[in-house]
Structure formats: C-alpha cells, structure tokens
Subunit: 450 residues, 2 copies
C-alpha cells in the first residue's frame, strides 16, 4: 500500500480535501480522504501539489506530433491536404511511431493518463502499450468515393483484426470513419455495421467547420469542388452533418463525435437522444477558425463531453488543463459569466467527462475507492496563493507542470521527470521536421491530391 | 562583451536567425546576427531556446497578486466591490508590497522585463526597483463624486510628488484615473490637466464591459444604482466610453487605454486620431465575460497595441506568450483564420507593440543594436519539432518556461531559476490568502461599499 499525500486532493466526484491522501494497493485506489485517516502503508509525500485523477484526452492524433508548427496559417482545406500528402510522402511507419511516442511523453508530462486517439497508420496501439498509458485507438478509414467502399472496409477489417491482438486491459481498439468530406455515405454505413458486429467503439470528426457544412448541406464549396475534380459525384446529403449521421444510422451505435462546432438545437437533441458523446477541442477549433462549440447546450442536454487536444498540427500543445481553461473562457465570451460553465464544470470535462465520453468511467476519471489508480499531481508552488484548488488547476497552473503521474498504480512521472524516456526522440522529431521542410521546399505539396 | 548564443534568435523587427547570437556590452545590445559573426567576447550558450526581446506587460496590478483565486465566479460589480473592500480591510502596505514582489517574481519567470502597472497603494515603484525590471507605475486615483474632485487631485499630486523621487532610468511614474464608474468627469479633466502639466503618462480602464457602457451611455444599470445609493447624481454622459474621454479632452494627452472591448468603428477612429494606445487583455476580458476586443480593427487603424495580463484577480496567471496565443485564438474565433492576426503579429504585440504602447519603443521591444539589453529566452526542448520559432513561441511554449532573462544587461533569471528570490514570499502569499478568506467568512464583504 502506498499513501500519496498532497496539499490538495481533488477527487472530482466529491469536494477537495486539504492535506489529503490517496492510498493505492497495486493498481487500485484503496482510500481517498484526510491524511490522518485511511489504511497504513508507505507514505509518499507529493508536497505542495493538487492531486487529480489522471487527465483524459478525448481526442488526439499522436502520430502527427512531428507536424507541430508545419501547417500554420493555411485555410482548412489546404491544411488537411498538406497534412495528408506530407504524411504519406515523408513519414514512414517508424517515423509515425516515434512521433506517437514523443506525443505520449508530452502527454504524460502534462498529466494525461488516458487517450482517445484517431490513427491512420495504426502505430498508436504499440506506442500506448510501450508508454504504459490507458486508451482507445480508433483505426481511421477513408474513402469519399462510393466505389472504394468495399475495398476500404475490407482493409479496415483486416487492420482491426491485427490490432486486436495488441489489446490489453489498458489499451483497446476502435474504428473511425474519418469525416463527411473523406467518407462516402456507403462507407459510413459499412463502418457502422462493422462497429456493431464487432462491438467496436467508433469516433468521427463531425460538424467541425463551414466547408464541411457546405459540402453536406449544399453539395458546394471547396471540399465539393475538390471531390468533383477527382471524378466523385457530389450532391446535398442532409440538412446538417449531425442529421447525415442520424440518417445513415451512425448515431445508433453512439459514437464519439469529435468537434460538434456547427450544431443547432435539433442536432444537440439528436446527439443526446442517441447516447453519443462529444470530444470538445476548444484550442483547435479556435486556431483553425472554426468558432466556438455550444458546450453549455451540449452539457445541459446531458451529453457526455470530454476535452481533446486534437493533433499537434492544429493546437500545438497537449495540455488538458489549458483546454479546460480555454473551454471556459470561450463559453464566457459567448454567453457571459453567469451562463457559462464554471471551473469545476470544465475540470470535470478534463477528467470524468472524458472518461464517460470514451467509455472508461467505470475505471477512471475520478478518485474513488475501487477505481484504477490513474493519478496526476500538479505543482502549486509558484502560483500562490491558492484559495481554491479547482480554480488554481483551471486558471493558474498549466498541465506542463505535472509533478507526478501514475497509471493503474504504475509510476510514469516522478518529481516532474519521466521515469523512462526514449533517448534521442527530440532530435528525431527535429530531423523529421527537417525532412518535412525539405519536402515542402521541393514542391512536394503539388504532387499528391491537390 | 557577453555573446548570448541561442538555437533561434527572434529580433521581431527582422527575420528569425537560426544559431544566432545577441552580444551585450554593459546595458546595451552590441550585435544581433549569426553566431559565426559579431564581436568577440565571452560566449554564454543558452542552448535549445528561442531568444526574444524581453516581453512587455502593458497592463497589470502587481499589488493584487495575493488575490489570485479569491474572486471567482462573481459578476463584474460584485467582483470589483469585493476586491476594493478586501484590499482596504485586509492588505496593509507591507502585504501589498509583498504581493507586488511575488507578482514580479512570477513575471520575470515568464520572461517579462517591462511592466505597465496601475497601482492604488504606490508600492509597485519600490517593488520594480528591487526586482531590477523596467516599467511605468501609474498611480491610481478614484472619486466618482464631483465634490471629491479637489481632494482627490490634491492627494494624487502629493503621491506623485513622493513617487518621482523613486524614478530611475528603468522605472518611472504615471497616473491613472481609474475608470468611468469610479471617476467623475471633473476628476478626469483635472487628472488630464495634471498629466499635461507634469508630462506624466496616463492610463485608464475604459470600454471594458456592458455595465460600464450602460452607466456612461444610459446612466442606468448596476453601477448607476450603486452610485445613486451613495448619493451621487448619475446622468447619461456620452454616446460611448471613448466618446466620453474625447469630450473631456482626456484623449488629447494620448493615454494608454486599457481594455477597449466595447468600441465601435467611430471609437477606433477617435483612438487612432488621438495617438492613444491600447492595452489588450484577452484572458481577463474572456474570464470576466466582457467579450472580445476588436483587435484586428485597432491594428488596421494603426493604434499601438500591447498585451496585458491584467491582475491575478482576473486572469489568474501572468504569461504574455499565453496572452499572445489567446489574442490570436479569440480573433480567429471572431473573424476566421484569414482575417485574424498571425502568430508574428501577436508576438509583436507582446514585445514592440507593448513597448510602443507605453513609450518604451526607443529602448526596448526589439533586438536591435543600440537598444537596451532586455532579453528573454524560452526552452524549446520538450516542444519539438520547431518548424518556425515564431509559431513555437506563440503556440507551443508558454511563458512559464523562461530559461534566461536579463534587463539592461543584468541577469535576473538563469537556467530557469531566479538569480535572487525573496525567502518565504510564497508562504507569505498563502497567509494573506488565509486572512482574505477569514475576512470573507466573517462577513467582511458586507461592511464596506456594497
């Protein structure tokens, strides 16, 4: 039994405890309460920290970490085309794996213990296993042309078959038909069928921006033009992206809906009724100019919402406490301070909200006896005074400051340092960055899909 | 001669230099360029960092650092009343001085070398001198009742007289008639006259939120009700807060206008025409629910704009790189990605923009030969890869990560540690927090102005 002592313990599901302790027996939480109570054991004093449940990143693309800063100031279609072309041309499997490993090191340093990752290459299963974190890797599938559907779904089925051998108690596989501008209606239906058949969790990028809305609702705009240039027929598909998913039966399997910026009242109702959950990505939505998602309305409708960093190509940092702060600031901007979520509300999103959104709430997301010991502690020292540890976590400290992290009782970060770090990974990232830069300088962008 | 070498040198006024050096002779910059050039001297390798001009905080209230987290989730009028009453009841001069000292330690750790501080007690002059930073302290003056005017201005004149003895080449004094809801038209006029007479820089909180607008334009709302309860006559004063300042002649002395959230096209023109500057505070504006200032329009009109953290009671962190990122994210949210300022634009705001706004651009704000050696370096190591040091500074790293800071050539931070730090200041902050909490619990809030 190890007793982790902290200036503040914030269990999320119950009020903060000053001078608290979380006792851990193997992989489980055995006690949460004042430090003068609980079972005896070895004391580990974490000091002047706020100790939280490990944070849950409800949406990321770990394999894209090498693209941080490579895609600045592009409109959304150019952004996604450069990303796709560069990934295919420059980043081989080993590069993508290193990229995911580096992203996980960053995530653990930021106190993130669980990851919902959408991944094209499939490398993230291995990277999460190596890192000792918890998570779901949603294998992506693409195919905007209906004639590709059978081939795409066969490929997906094969990949998933291979990936399931890598599942562990911590890490599982899901699928992700990418988005309406890269997936045909046929492929959405077929992927949903596969999810149902194999009981796989599913995630979809949806209702993110205006170009996507125009494609779905009007069959026009830059995405529509691009598809037509590739010989793919385009017509209006539904009254909204969410209605498209409803109509195709996709919502019936209650997927994780990533973004949901452009959703109206009817869309929110449809999401809530279906039991689907949402990954809210405030930094990415703002940085790409997509706007502010109706977070308050989604929460009021009872939708499980988690916070996502999105990829390092669209953020460019992985810091869930910062996402919580941005979520709050954006809603206060939109609604004023009385209608917007509170600091406690957004800290819930970063923990139990994310856990609910990705189906891990029975084992993670709060500090409760019997749950898995996924913990993250953040230093308060240079952020005095602390009137309220929840306000401090959201407004004052940043996730970059994690002092201590464990997953299922296994320590991954101690005294602010990773317990094990892969030598040379930072340099490897930089050489990948150089290779991406050379590809760009040599006109690579004009080669692939344009 | 010391040659500070860095992976990236970002002079702001000229393109980034890979493997650059900034050579410093005493208090001045003697060379900025590639590390294989420049004068000989002692090499100081700062490593894998981006080296910037020291950041400029165009608006803060350092004496309020002890109130971090003490004023969460209050509407704006209650927020300002609790702040004012608690400050008067609980924080004596020594407490406010410690609070300012602690705020400056935080600021230096965040790479901030120059401060535009609005201060009621006057302690910040001493705190800035002790810390070795550059700045302007604007002595605040209050008085919503016209009958108080003569007394208020006499008091201000006396305080300024005492403070001018504390001026140094680094630190100077200014004045700040606080805001339209705490300052009568008479006092605005008298303060402007004093500024003109003594050539004092002036700063004003203006056009921040809806309650202020209603007071000025309609003579109604919670601020108006509060003033009437104190027996002060209230009537509509102008078509907008900026028009009020124009009408009273305040804009004629080209003050620093703090906030400017609620400004329309005509207000922007009036600000630009007067040569006034703006302190833009995106985190504070969002957190207090005031909305998004028209930053893009102010910049397009040629207004000098700096970034301000505002007080720790309304932010709650002092991190100018984070303010730069928030400024960009908020404008992209408002305008989409093509119309909004770029990363380079907002990094300018955090450096030369702020320096212009507070009249320090001839000595600070860029890395140029002959300017004062105010430098700040930020670690890149855990934020690889770096395609572009400007995007990295704005999006990836945070100001909490400063590795090295000097002001006028004097080193204040080395290897991420303060060169000199006041013992026990963090604990003192915490005991002040406890005292504030006790005051609140014992009903102190109901005593003063309500």
């Amino acid at each position: 039994m190890i007793r982790y002592r902290a200036r503040w313990v914030v269990p999320i599901a119950s009020p903060p405890i000053a001078n608290g302790v979380v006792a851990v027996e193997r992989d489980l939480i055995a006690y949460v309460g004042p430090s003068d109570g609980g079972p005896s054991g070895h004391d580990h004093d974490l000091g002047d920290v706020v100790l939280l449940p490990g944070l849950v990143n409800a949406h990321c693309h770990l394999e894209l970490t090498a693209m941080r800063g490579f895609l600045e100031d592009l409109d959304f279609r150019r952004w996604i085309l450069r990303l796709t072309n560069a990934r295919r041309a420059v980043l081989d499997r080993e590069a993508l794996l290193d990229s995911a490993r580096y992203g996980l090191e960053e995530g653990v340093r930021a106190g993130i213990t669980a990851y919902a990752d959408t991944c094209e290459s499939g490398v993230v299963m291995q990277a999460m296993r190596e890192a000792g974190v918890r998570g779901v890797m949603y294998q992506e599938v693409f195919g905007p042309d209906p004639v590709q559907c059978a081939e795409s779904i066969a490929g997906l089925r094969e990949k998933v078959g291979g990936l399931r051998y890598l599942e562990t108690p911590l890490v599982r596989v899901g699928i992700s038909p990418h988005a309406p501008y890269t997936v045909s209606d046929e492929l959405f239906r077929a992927a949903t069928e596969l999810a149902r058949e194999q009981r796989l969790p599913m995630a979809i990028h949806i209702a993110e921006g205006e170009l996507e809305r125009r494609l779905v609702v009007e069959g026009e705009g830059a995405f529509a033009d691009g598809l037509r240039r590739r010989g793919i027929a385009v017509a209006p598909r539904a009254a909204s992206p969410i209605e498209l998913l409803a109509k195709l039966g996709v919502l019936d399997v209650a997927p994780l809906l990533i973004h949901c910026v452009r959703v109206d009242r009817r869309d929110v109702e449809a999401i809530a009724k279906s039991g689907s959950s949402v990954a809210h990505c405030p930094a990415s939505n703002a940085k790409l100019g997509h706007g502010i998602a109706p977070l308050a309305e989604l929460l009021a409708a009872g939708v499980p919402v988690g916070l996502g960093s999105d990829s390092m190509a669209s953020n460019n940092r992985m810091d869930l406490l910062e996402e919580a702060r941005l979520a709050l600031l954006a809603q206060r901007t939109r609604l004023g301070s009385s209608e917007a979520p509170s600091a406690a509300d957004v800290l819930e999103l970063a923990t139990i909200g994310g856990a609910k959104a990705i189906g891990l709430d029975s084992v993670a997301g709060t500090l409760d006896v019997g749950k898995q010991a996924d913990l993250a502690a953040f230093a308060l020292d240079s952020h005095a005074p602390t009137h309220d540890p929840i306000a401090a976590a959201v407004f004052s400290i940043t996730g970059g400051r994690a002092r201590f992290v464990c997953v299922a009782g296994r320590m991954l970060l101690q005294d602010g340092e990773l317990v094990s770090s892969r030598a040379g990974l930072g340099l490897r990232m930089q050489s990948l960055a150089d290779a991406l830069g050379e590809w760009l300088d040599s006109g690579g962008e004009t080669q692939g899909v344009v």
